[in-house]
């Protein structure tokens, strides 16, 4: 791949609804709320100025019509579905669209209305089949990771548990400072450790919040960005991988690393000119669908050495005051995880941090930011990594 979107694409406006159990809010409300907020964030821009839309949702609607109907627009609308990375993939396609020169102003908008189903956790019906896929819930699939990790690196299980508890504690504490987050309570480590288990060693505090919500981003070419705002967010690198799932099929691949994440992080770092992510990345939004996922991601993204992430977590390296704050907005854990919106929600936090608008959780001098979003189960992922900066490099 010779091309790169580094410094060719910028975000000039964003919107994000409150996430949570929004019983009085419809999916239309979530679309309208996030889209209108994004448009309103760009002075002088009107919705008809947006020429094309990429609309991401896992299961809240089919085709581009729900967006067009709700907004009363007639425009190119593409529905994007790529599991929990749907929002990121909507952004990715929108970014390619302006970079191609065909469109000048486009929008990625993601929405999910999960709570109306009444199901526990996330449940997705597959196509008609031979029914040989095992009935394994997502928490159970991810709950397999900590013991395998502990065994692979010879770490005792209690230390791993302490690290997972720290991640849950951190992300809840971060979310408590975020007015849009689903869960806004600080939860003590004692309380987390005492919670009944949902799957394996994971309790609800180790699992992301199942939530309703929407988020939107307005995207232009980088050279046009300053015509719309003084503080655009510039894309530095972007990579998406859908794994062959060989990891699910063969014993060569362990359950202590996500090969798809490693591959697309490498690609995004190369595009952005990042050679030492642990020092060059200023802060990160990562896919903490379950606490062990965040721990393993610290290694796969190069923030920690192999087998050391649990230690770095416990040493506070990824706390808001640490060397590389992770999920300062609360992450999937406490911000909530409306699947189609989550990737864009992660970018929304970067957007706020760059603009100095992350009230109560604002980081000092945020530099390069990493957004990592993924979908699937251990053994086979769709993984997305992007890197953003507050300024053009040249």
């Amino acid at each position: 791949m010779s091309g790169t979107l580094r410094d060719r694409v910028a975000v000039i406006g964003m919107g994000c609804t409150r996430f949570g159990e929004l019983w009085d809010t419809s999916s239309d409300d979530l679309l309208i709320g996030s889209v209108h907020e994004a448009v309103a964030s760009v002075p002088g821009l009107e919705l008809p100025d947006v020429e094309a839309f990429w609309y991401s949702t896992l299961a809240t609607g089919h085709s581009g019509l729900p967006l067009a109907r709700a907004l009363k627009i007639e425009a190119p609308v593409t529905r994007v579905e790529n599991f929990c990375a749907s929002g990121s993939d909507a952004f990715r396609n929108a970014a390619f669209a302006v970079a191609s020169g065909v469109y000048d102003v486009v929008m990625a908008v993601g929405v999910e209305k999960l709570k109306d189903s009444g199901f526990s956790g996330l449940a997705l019906a597959g196509p008609p089949g031979d029914n040989t896929a095992p009935e394994i819930s997502n928490p159970a699939a991810y709950a397999m990771l900590p013991d395998v990790y502990a065994g692979n690196y010879g770490v005792d299980r209690d230390s791993i548990r302490d690290a997972l508890t720290h991640i849950a504690w951190k992300n809840h504490r971060n979310g408590a400072k975020n007015p849009l987050a689903q869960y806004r309570s600080v939860v003590s480590k004692e309380h987390i450790n005492a919670a009944p288990k949902v799957a394996g060693e994971l309790s609800v505090f180790d699992c992301s919040g199942v939530a309703d919500g929407g988020a939107a981003a307005i995207i232009v070419r980088a050279e046009d960005a300053h015509r719309y705002t003084d503080h655009p967010m510039f894309l530095k690198g972007l990579s998406l991988h859908a794994g062959s799932s060989d990891g699910a099929a063969t014993a060569e691949s362990g359950y202590y690393s996500f090969t798809e994440v490693v591959a697309c992080a490498d690609q995004a770092y190369a595009q952005a000119g990042v050679t030492d992510p642990s020092t060059q990345i200023s802060f990160a939004e990562v896919h903490d669908c379950f606490t062990p996922t965040e721990m393993i991601l610290m290694e796969d993204l190069g923030f920690s050495a192999r087998g050391e992430a649990w230690k770095d977590v416990l040493d506070g390296h990824f706390d808001p005051g640490g060397r590389l704050p992770v999920n300062v907005d609360g992450g999937l854990k406490s911000f909530g995880h409306p699947v189609g919106a989550s990737g864009l929600r992660m970018m929304y936090e970067v957007w706020l941090q760059f603009r100095g608008e992350a009230e109560g959780r604002q980081l000092d001098h945020p530099g390069l930011a990493l957004v990592q979003n993924m979908g699937g189960l251990p053994g086979g992922f769709v993984s997305f990594v992007s890197i953003f900066g507050p300024e053009l490099d040249r």
Partner: protein
């Protein structure tokens, strides 16, 4: 092979295939009859076997057949006997046949009713091939049928390659239009007539039949062993003593105290367990007393392999509570998890993938040796296309590479347990753990595939492979 039995006895000049292997299957959990007494009354001493929530007559028949030596070159029909067929209309034996594999150019057929096990045994002896019988017996909570019933299966191989271990020498029958036990289609429980009446009718008729077998069936002295298949525990034991007081009835007694009456499978389980402990030259008098009387004289041709395996499995069973039993039987409905129903199987997909779904047949690359479960066309190991060949895994053990309880997925026995299995020789698959509650399976443990029912909801039964502890290796 013909017997020298008198022409008054049925089947006397037929060709009999000899039994060349047999196996009994007893499920891994059991209910103490005292638990019934404590809960609702009507229990007693001893235990009865209870099928797993993911077992039924089809899966238990498969388990029993997997316990015998099957030779792919052996042709012959598959006869499946049960009084609790998971399917009406559709042939249950076809599902059993799909799961055990082998040449499919054979007749696979069902025989139903409580006496069908004996019928299948005699038909199999005539046709050769495989006979499987499996049943799940119960009744209203607190009833004698519940207390005296059991779940289990047996399988026999007639003829083919391999050393004969026993042969049927004579069989006699008295057909009786007797309303002793019956169940109309769709009814949940059997109806039974007053037992003193039916037992009196059966006893006196059995007396005559046994006398005829002794006179004319080639029995020169008392048979070495006597077993009686009859729903009532005390009646079966009493009848055995009555008609063959000098014969060894200990296998029957032990079976009734620990397993219970397994319906259509009862004669098979009793015969298989007797052949385990018998010596060459022994004779077994196999009697059935319900809905008519039947008697079979079996001559033992080879020393049995001993009862240790089954004794150990029975002793190692997990005792379940009476409420667990009621939930498994659908007599007590548990609040389901708030999860979507498992979808009904798509018939075309199941048909296309029959060797995967029913035989756990993956694929192995002819170029690089990489194994995939389920089978793949494109190899991720070497990039070859259509280089993969069928690779059966149903008989392969494996090792647990990752495992977790699953408190979210719906199951009659929460929590479910799921595991990632690395099969010996290659291939990795995420699988459900059978009989999951307190399964005790941990990371690194040895496991083996077991054919189980997967559907959790009402409607068509659905099947696939799960895993359980590799008991085959501990033997």
């Amino acid at each position: 092979m013909t017997t020298d039995a008198d022409e008054d006895l049925e089947w006397h000049d037929m060709t009999w295939h000899k039994i060349t292997d047999c196996s009994a299957y007893i499920p891994a959990s059991a209910l103490g009859l005292q638990a019934i007494s404590d809960a609702i009354g009507g229990g007693g001493r001893g235990t009865r076997s209870v099928a797993g929530f993911d077992e039924d007559s089809i899966t238990m028949a498969v388990a029993a057949l997997r316990g015998i030596d099957r030779h792919s070159e052996d042709a012959g029909p598959l006869l499946f006997a049960t009084s609790t067929p998971p399917y009406a209309d559709k042939t249950n034996a076809s599902t059993v046949k799909a799961a055990i594999g082998g040449d499919d150019r054979v007749m696979a057929t069902d025989v139903t009713g409580l006496r069908s096990g004996l019928s299948a045994l005699l038909l199999g002896a005539r046709t050769g091939g495989l006979v499987a019988m499996a049943d799940m017996r119960g009744g209203r909570p607190g009833s004698a049928e519940e207390r005296d019933g059991g779940d289990g299966a047996a399988a026999f191989r007639f003829g083919g390659t391999g050393q004969p271990i026993a042969q049927i020498e004579a069989a006699g029958h008295v057909s009786m239009e007797l309303m002793d036990i019956w169940r109309v289609p769709g009814a949940r429980y059997s109806a039974v007539s007053e037992e003193r009446f039916s037992q009196a009718a059966l006893s006196s008729t059995m007396d005559g039949l046994v006398a005829r077998l002794k006179d004319e069936g080639g029995l020169t002295g008392p048979p070495t062993f006597v077993v009686v298949a009859a729903p009532g525990h005390r009646f079966a034991v009493k009848l055995a003593r009555l008609v063959a007081e000098d014969s060894d009835g200990s296998t029957l007694a032990a079976h009734r105290e620990s397993v219970g009456y397994c319906g259509a499978a009862e004669v098979g389980i009793l015969l298989a367990r007797t052949l385990d402990v018998a010596k060459a030259g022994d004779t077994v008098l196999l009697l059935s007393a319900m809905g008519g009387v039947d008697g079979v004289v079996v001559r033992v041709l080879a020393d049995g392999g001993g009862s240790e395996r089954l004794d150990r499995e029975i002793a190692g069973r997990r005792m379940i509570s009476y409420t667990d039993y009621l939930v498994r039987r659908g007599l007590l409905e548990r609040e389901p998890a708030r999860r979507p129903d498992r979808p009904a199987v798509a018939a075309p997909a199941a048909f296309r993938n029959v060797r995967w779904k029913f035989r756990l047949e993956g694929s192995r690359c002819g170029q690089c040796g990489k194994v995939y479960l389920p089978p793949q066309r494109v190899c991720g190991g070497c990039g070859g296309a259509d280089t993969h060949h069928p690779y059966p895994c149903a008989d392969r053990p494996g090792t647990v590479a990752a495992i977790s309880t699953d408190g979210l997925s719906d199951t009659p026995a929460p929590p479910a347990v799921a595991a990632l299995v690395d099969f010996d020789g290659g291939g990795r698959l995420a699988m459900e753990v059978a009989e999951s509650t307190d399964s005790g399976i941990a990371l690194g443990d040895r496991v083996e595939p077991t054919f189980r029912r997967t559907s959790q909801t009402d409607g068509a039964p659905d099947y696939f492979w799960k895993i359980r502890s590799a008991i085959g290796e501990s033997a």
